[in-house]
Each structure stands twice: as structure tokens, then as C-alpha cells.
């Protein structure tokens, strides 16, 4: 079962894991990645992030990414939740959860989905700093390289 949600509300990864487990039966591995709004590692200091997306297209793209992962690894169950709107430092922002028969498939599928999500799903981050400045986050070439790694695997 594939579940994709783009929402302003927070999520509880334990609750999501219970839901994934309930639909997974006989899986040997569950991998969870939770992304959190990182702060205070740059100057000026981050106050909060604003996440914008393209309703309809974003969900469609995430599902496409999951299906692409399914052509490479055997797994049937995946939950992806991405938050939008205003998020404070420390807030959970994204959850990628994959259950599979074996750990390698679950690990790799989760990493693949996350790498593609960062470079293909239409989300845009705007940083608001404590000194009042703000600006859109630019796409990182390291994220693109991370994604391109999968081409040779």
C-alpha cells in the first residue's frame, strides 16, 4: 500500500509505523527516515521555514517516485508524509517509511525515495531568519549528485 500525504499538520512517526505495520504483514524490515528542520548552523540564524508546494502535482510526483523505486526493489508498502506551511526549527518536516522483506531493500528504497523527493517533488523552501531577512533556498548541486548516483547502480 502506498500512502502519500502533503499536509500542514504534524505527524507522529510511531503512529505512522503502526499503520505501516498493520498493512505490511510478513515484512522483515521497516526503515523510517524522519527529516527535521535544521537550524542554527548558519548565520544569520534561522527563525522558521515556509514550505510551498504545487497541490495535486506534488502528490502525483511523489507517487511516481515511489513507483520508480518499486521497479528497482521489492516492496509493497510505503508511507510518505511531507509538511508544508510554516515550520519552526526542530519541527519534523518529512517522513519516508518503507517496509520490505529484507533490510537492504527497505534501506535502499527509502534512500532512493528521499533523494528523488529532494530533487523532483515540487516543494520550495523559504527561509525566514531571526534578523528579519528572508530568501528562497536554492537547489543544491549535492542533492542532484546524490540523485544521479542511482543512475549508475
Amino acid at each position: 500500500m502506498i500512502y502519500v500525504a502533503v499536509q500542514t499538520d504534524g505527524f507522529n512517526s510511531n503512529d505512522e509505523e503502526i499503520k505501516l505495520e498493520a498493512s505490511s504483514g510478513h515484512c522483515g524490515a521497516i526503515v523510517t527516515f524522519k527529516g527535521v528542520v535544521r537550524g542554527y548552523d548558519q548565520e544569520p540564524r534561522l527563525d522558521y521555514l515556509h514550505l510551498e508546494h504545487f497541490p495535486g502535482i506534488t502528490e502525483q510526483e511523489i507517487e511516481r517516485i515511489i513507483k520508480q523505486a518499486q521497479t528497482r526493489w521489492q516492496f509493497t508498502n510505503c508511507r510518505v508524509i511531507h509538511r508544508v506551511g510554516d515550520l519552526a526549527v526542530g519541527d519534523p518536516i518529512v517522513l519516508v517509511m518503507v517496509s520490505a522483506r529484507h533490510r537492504k531493500e527497505a534501506f535502499q528504497a527509502a534512500e532512493f525515495i528521499m533523494d528523488y523527493l529532494k530533487t523532483e517533488a515540487p516543494f520550495w523552501k523559504k527561509e525566514y531568519f531571526q534578523d528579519g531577512r528572508s530568501g528562497w533556498v536554492e537547489a543544491k548541486s549535492s542533492d542532484t549528485l546524490q540523485k544521479q548516483r542511482w543512475d549508475s547502480k
Binding site: 508546494h53 529532494k118 516543494f123 523552501k125
Partner: protein, 82 residues
């Protein structure tokens, strides 16, 4: 008329979320050409050198397509989610 929607940094740079444009005929490439001719800012923002994607009627397109009256086009800057 066609409707054009702008996302992310493009909204701020071009000071526009969406607009409607009278459209006789032409492709997405023709549309970009029309928009780039507006002024230097538009030309720079939508330059070929920049990476951006187009969505026509809720479908991401990978090559130029013909635009028809009533179509909705979205212009997406590089994504930065996750």
C-alpha cells in the same frame, strides 16, 4: 486565454503569482519566448541557462507542447523540499 501560474522564487522575482494571457496559437516554447521579451528581469529569470519545469494542465511536460485556449501552465523553479 491561457492561465499562467508561478511558484517558489519565481513568484517573488517576477512579483506575480498568476496571470491570464490572450493566446492565439503557439507552443510552450513560444510562450517562454513571449515572456522573455517582457524585460531584462523576465529574460534573465526564464533564461535557457536556468533550470525550470513546465506543467500544462496538471501534467509535467518534458518537451514543448502546443497550447490551446483555456490551458493552465505552471512554471516551476528548481525544487528544494525534504
Amino acid at each position: 486565454m491561457i492561465k499562467i501560474r508561478y511558484f517558489g522564487s519565481f513568484k517573488d522575482t517576477l512579483s506575480l503569482c498568476e496571470e491570464e494571457l490572450v493566446w492565439q496559437s503557439g507552443s510552450t516554447d513560444d510562450l517562454l519566448s513571449v515572456l522573455r521579451k517582457r524585460d531584462e528581469l523576465w529574460a534573465e529569470t526564464l533564461s535557457d541557462k536556468n533550470i525550470f519545469r513546465l506543467v500544462v494542465n496538471q501534467q509535467i511536460i518534458y518537451q514543448s507542447v502546443l497550447l490551446n485556449d483555456g490551458d493552465e501552465i505552471a512554471i516551476l523553479p528548481p525544487v528544494t523540499g525534504g
